[in-house]
Each structure stands twice: as structure tokens, then as C-alpha cells.
């Protein structure tokens, strides 16, 4: 049975929910529709799009709508492989972030209250400087002349192995990705862990649970909602990221992000770029809904 909502409540809902909905409509739904339309068009001769109808002075040529860009996407396994690689990088980044962020978030959540805010501030402090500058800094740190590279290669030489280049490698991309996204994992984890009732750990210990048992049976399951939201906040942006592989990955280590960027800014094949974008959006949406489903199953309790 549904009850009539008083008009004032309805108006309030419209007022509070309206602007964000409008924002999503203008900046997400409409652009997505434009992208879908674009993906069914022909590329223009000098980039952009070919006109839908043939101009009067030019009888022959490719005009109108087509599924050619989709056919092209599926014609070569190259693109599927780039997708797969991007997923791999995103997964590895997420796991590395989780492994590094969890102990830190736990440390912050369990330290004295007056230190917590300071520690959180330190976590978000890197955002104060420009993103590209921070990534370029890694290019210097990992570069062949850097102290890090020299130490690494001296060690390798001592072990009788070939010198390695750190920069322009999958390793460099992973380091950059983890570095950039770590705070997005720490913050939701901390927010979750900070809310845990310390009496639960006392109770577990009182009832016979040793250190690791207390972690696996109490802290970890209760932190799953934080783990899922942190993972989503890392996984999804990494999937579309092009700046980090551009700067740290060199030419071989391109990901979907780079591919899409190239279609629009380099090759100027807008329809194919749109197809790649749509595929990425679909992939992200399915990952997000899968995560939400897992999170709901794991976090049935408040």
C-alpha cells in the first residue's frame, strides 16, 4: 500500500534531487547519447565526422550511418587484448593499493583521536600539488640517471644480471597508478575502520580469539563495505587513465585510455573512439554493479 506524499515533501524532493539529476542529464546522459550516435557515423576525411547526407558537389563517398566502427573493433583481437591488459593493470593497482592502504588506514583508525585528523591530512596532502607534476616526478625518480635506478642496476650487476630500465615499463605504470590512487583507497577504508566499536575486539579476545583470528573474524568482515568502495574508487579511474601510461609507460604499454585519447586527438577517428569509449563505459558499469552487488551481499548489516 502506498500513501500519498504530501505536496510539500514532493516539492522538497524535487528541489534537493533536481539539480544533481539535471547535472547528470546534461553532462552524462546527453553526452553518452551523442557518443552512441557518433559511433554509428563515418569518420570525416580530415578527422571529425563525415556529413550524414552527401554534399551536392560530391556524389560518391561514405555518408549516413554505419556499424563499420563496431566491425573494426571486433575484427582485430588487438583491442580486446588492450582491454584485457587494462583490466589487469586496474586489478593489480587495486590489489596493491588495498595491501598498502589497509594497514595504514587501520593504524590511523586505531591511533589517538587527536593525531587522526593530522594523519588524514597527510594522506590527502599530495593533492595540493598538480597531478601531472607528481607523475613527472616519478619519471625522474625512475629515470636511468636516478639514484634509484643506479642502485638497482648496481645490485643487478653484482648478481651478474643485465641492467634494467625502470622507466617506460609496466612496472613504472603500476608504480604511478598506485601512487596516484592510494589516497582513494585509504580514505574509505579509514572512514569504515574508524567506526568499528572497540568493544567488539575486546569481546572477541575475551571469548578466546587470538590476534589474527580477531582480525579475520571481526575487523575484516566489518570492513568489507570500505574495501569495496575503495576498490571501486581505484579500479574504475585506473581503467580509463591515459596520463600515467603516457608519461611512465612509453610506447608499448598503452591502455584503453591511451587508445581512446589517440582516436580523438591523434588519428581523429571519432566513430571508432566512440566505440572504444562505449565499450569502456559498459565495462565500468558492469564492474560497478558487480561491486555493488557484492558489497550488498557482504554488508547486509549496518
Amino acid at each position: 500500500m502506498t500513501r500519498d506524499t504530501p505536496r510539500s515533501t514532493r516539492a522538497a524532493r524535487l528541489l534537493t534531487g533536481g539539480p544533481p539529476l539535471l547535472f547528470l542529464l546534461v553532462f552524462f546522459v546527453i553526452p553518452s547519447l551523442i557518443m552512441v550516435l557518433t559511433s554509428f557515423r563515418f569518420p570525416g576525411e580530415f578527422g571529425g565526422l563525415a556529413p550524414v547526407t552527401a554534399p551536392a558537389d560530391q556524389a560518391a563517398g561514405e555518408y549516413g550511418f554505419t556499424t563499420e566502427a563496431y566491425a573494426f573493433f571486433f575484427s582485430d583481437t588487438l583491442y580486446a587484448r588492450v582491454f584485457l591488459k587494462s583490466f589487469g593493470v586496474a586489478l593489480a593497482t587495486t590489489l596493491a593499493c588495498l595491501l598498502m592502504a589497509y594497514p595504514l588506514a587501520l593504524l590511523i583508525a586505531r591511533s589517538e583521536k587527536r593525531f587522526r585528523n593530522l594523519m588524514v591530512l597527510l594522506v590527502i596532502l599530495p593533492f595540493a600539488s598538480n597531478f601531472l607534476i607528481r607523475v613527472y616526478a616519478w619519471a625522474i625518480i625512475l629515470g636511468p640517471q636516478s639514484a634509484l635506478s643506479r642502485v638497482a642496476n648496481t645490485l643487478l650487476a653484482l648478481l651478474g644480471m643485465e641492467p634494467a630500465t625502470l622507466l617506460f615499463s609496466p612496472f613504472a605504470v603500476l608504480v604511478g597508478m598506485v601512487y596516484v590512487h592510494l589516497p582513494f583507497m585509504i580514505l574509505p577504508l579509514y572512514t569504515n575502520l574508524e567506526k568499528h566499536d572497540p568493544a567488539l575486539l575486546d569481546a572477541a579476545q575475551d571469548l578466546g580469539a587470538r590476534g589474527w583470528q580477531r582480525f579475520w573474524r571481526v575487523t575484516w568482515p566489518l570492513s568489507l563495505p570500505g574495501v569495496f568502495s575503495g576498490s571501486a574508487l581505484v579500479f574504475i579511474p585506473v581503467l580509463g587513465m591515459f596520463a600515467v601510461p603516457d608519461i611512465l609507460g612509453g610506447t608499448r604499454d598503452i591502455l584503453i585510455g591511451n587508445l581512446i585519447k589517440d582516436q580523438f586527438l591523434g588519428t581523429r577517428d571519432w566513430p571508432f573512439g566512440s566505440v572504444l569509449s562505449i565499450m569502456l563505459t559498459l565495462a565500468v558499469l558492469s564492474v560497478a554493479s558487480l561491486t555493488a552487488w557484492f558489497a550488498r551481499a557482504a554488508g547486509r548489516t549496518p
Binding site: D197, A199, L200, D202, A203, A204, Q205, D206, L207, G208, A209, R210, Q213, R217, V218, P221, L222, R300, T301, P302
Partner: protein, 361 residues
Amino acid sequence: MALLEIRHVVRRFGDYTAVDNVSISVETGEFFTLLGPSGCGKTTLLRMIAGFDLPDSGQILLDGRDMVGTPPEKRPVHTVFQTYALFPHMTVADNVAFPLRMGGRTQPEIRERVQHALDGVRLPDFANRFPHELSGGQKQRVALARGLVNRPRLLLLDEPLGALDAKLREEMQIELINLQKEVGITFVFVTHAQDEALALSHRIAVMNRGRVEQIDEPSRIYGFPRNRFVADFIGKISMMEARVVEAEPSRLRLEVAELGEVVMAGRDGVKAGDRGVVAIRPEQVRISRPAAPAESENHFPGRVHDFLYVGDVTTYIVELSNGARIEALLPNASPGRATFFEVGDEVGVSWRHDTGIFLDD
């Protein structure tokens, strides 16, 4: 040998002494209560018994063994926390099974004992619920079942009924007594509610500012409080400053300033000239129209200052000629209030020579 022996335990926080030279011994099967006002150190003492905290000096022995090096998870002691501390992500059954799993019991044994424990707290059909789907009283019972299921040597209960409403509290008190009798596990129960302590316990330790003031059976705590604090904290009592005039083994004769002579039963260690207070419980005071007193009673004239009707009884507060106020209790046996006296009425109060208490601290 006592099951739990606390010897001269001291615990300080900075220069504040939260537990001050406490010695208590608890026998197997006993329902022992720590009673005292908020902040007197009950929880601090309990945490040391459970192992979450260590004494600065003194010893805690369980079955004669010093517990100092034994962490909480290894002590055969379980706690029912004031906030219940049920695991929110586990069902009732999993919560109750937790100590059994930690103890490495087999699956069939766990299933059987969980069911048995839930039957014991009258929640046989709640196994698959989550804690947030339970009422306060039900959570309380799950916490009890969880604490008892692995049959600890000792169960500690830190104000477990504090969060319940009055009616449910009374129900749970009766259930607690029965449950303790049934399982035969030793309980150390913490409360700041004196009625609860009197109703539940075999013995009570009354605490004040980290010290134990008196350890005794409920009836002795109530009837023979050792000092002013205990007398005042347990039940209602009226007190007047007095000086001992004559001390015989069988009776004391006291002088109350500006009032007269009070006679009461004798007490060891009291001699003529001692100063202290006479204390008298409201139910021992008779209130009447001014009349000739009986020979065996203390009797004083006074005026009704106020009265309090609480249903089963009416408490009268009578002001005596020296300004002291004495409470007298009159049961309301017939319907309505026993409206014998109104504010301002001239009345007499009296109590028998063998009833009052002399406290000389």
C-alpha cells in the same frame, strides 16, 4: 580454596587511584556482586579479572593460579559487556558459536551446544536473526548465551541490565538467578543499583572510591551496614548525630543533641563517650497520633514535613523538635493512599529499642 582470589589489588591512572587495595575471594558457584556508585572502580576491577588490564600491585588468582601472565583469550573467564558487544555481521547462532569455534570444537558439537544455550535463554527460534533484528532484552540474552556456552569457570557481567527498562529488568533479574542456578557457573556481577544487588546476590562487596567498604550477604549489608557510606548507599535510612552515654553489652544509651535519649541494641567495640550517628530504616519507624509511648520504644514528637505516595507504600518525612528528619513507611494495604496524616500534622514517631544502628566513623 576460593575460585577467584583478589589480593591487595591496586590500580592507578596517573595519580588517581581507581582501585585501592582491594581483597575479595569468590567461591565456586557463587553469585557475587560488586556494588558501588558510578566511578568507584567496578569496571576497572572487572577488566583486571578478565585480563584486559593488569594491577599495579597485588595479585589475582584463579583456582589458586596467578593470572598475571595469562592474556584474556587464555583465561577461562568470559564477560558479558554492558553494551552487549554482539558481532553485528554474524547471526545469533554464529555469535553464540564464536567461543566454541575459537575453542576448536567439532561442528556437530557446536550445533548442539548453540541450540542448547539458546534454549537456556529462551530464544530457541532466533538462531538465524542478526543482532540488529533483536530487542534490547533479546540482545541481552544472546550475550548471556554467548558468555555461558563454552562453560567458563567464571562469568563477569558488567551492568548487563543497565540498558533495559524497569519491567524487563525485573524479568531478567529472575531469569538471571534461575540461569545461574541451572548452569552452576560462578558469576561476578557489577551494578550500581542496590535493589538489583540485594535481589540477585549471594554476597555483595560494596565499593566506594576504589575501596571495598563491606563484603557480606544482602541481609547483613542491609541490616548491619558497617559504616555511614554503606548505610546510606543501600536502601533508605535516616541518620542523626549522637554521643554514647552508656555502653552495655546488651544495650547502648545515646544522647542526641536537643532531642533526648535514644536506646538501641549493644554493639562490640563501642564505649561511652564515642561519637557517631544513629541510623534507622523507614520501615522500622512507626508513625502515630501523639500518645503515651510504650516502655520498650524510642518515642519523639514531630510534625509531618512531607510525604511521598509510591503506590504500595507511603513514605512520611517527619521533622523532629531538633530539626532532624526521620522517614517512616506506611503500607497502603487498602485501596487508595493510607491518608492518615497530612502535611503539618502533629505526630509521634517511635522505633523499638532493638532496631536502630549506631555507626561510629
